[in-house]
Symmetry: C2
Subunit: 154 residues, 2 copies
């Protein structure tokens, strides 16, 4: 799958300057970002861009698999660049929000899922690993342990 046609981040849509700017801004992030972040970043290249446009672009990118929702941070959804290559999950740094991809700890094709529980048939799963990236870990150990933006269940 992943009918990754010629169109870079958006599935079908037209290639406009704004969309290009949004895609570029998204690519530039090395960590997860909120729509708000993306708007701010995009505006550095396309000053007058509207929030709605970014929301619509994000929806399109998510639909085409160029973006993935990796959780949420205090009322705002977190996204990360990510080409739907194959089944994988995300590591999210609770310190800075940086994300990394992680192989599925359940195995190749999600084998190992304790199915049958109460007659349930598991069809899919969702895993998010929280932790600290190298930098945040270093910062944390050399200073007094501070409160981190704890894992949000969303």
């Amino acid at each position: 799958m992943a009918i990754c046609d010629n169109h870079s981040h958006f599935g079908e849509g037209r290639t406009t300057g704004q969309r290009r700017a949004i895609a570029a801004a998204a690519d530039a992030f090395g960590s997860a970002f909120t729509v708000e972040d993306l708007v701010a970043a995009t505006r550095r290249a396309a000053p007058g861009i509207g929030v709605a446009t970014v929301y619509r672009a994000v929806a399109a990118m998510e639909a085409s698999g160029a973006l993935e929702r990796v959780g949420s941070r205090e009322g705002g959804a977190l996204y990360a660049r990510c080409d739907h290559r194959e089944h994988h999950h995300h590591l999210v740094c609770t310190g800075c929000g940086k994300t990394a991809h992680a192989p599925c700890p359940l195995g190749p094709d999600a084998a190992g899922i304790p199915a049958g529980q109460d007659g349930f048939v598991v069809t899919s799963h969702e895993i998010t690993l929280y932790g600290l990236c190298r930098e945040c870990l270093a910062a944390k150990t050399e200073q007094a342990p501070r409160r981190a933006p704890g894992p949000r269940r969303d």
Copy 2:
């Protein structure tokens, strides 16, 4: 842990009629529910209860571990009764929203997490299993496959 004192669902709080009604309503659910659902259910026993009260009660119950957020459904958080006994996860039926507990597929104390990825140190994880409960599975197989409220990433 789970300093489950005499106070049933709320940690410290006082025992009021409303809170009792809310707790009872929460207990009555066999599946995950949104705050909206809970408000509706509670109102059958305590007609005049306010939304804010329920939100506050939900927050208290979540804090005390009597309730757990198990995802979100189209803009609304999903909760489920759940006493924080030990580390576990949830099975959510994509057909009806029913939930069940599931042991952690990663093992007793989350061993098996592919840590070290990019210098990350994994401190916690979050897993939600989606699938179909016995009833929904039966309903699905005997009829034409219908679209289910697909797993929301939150």
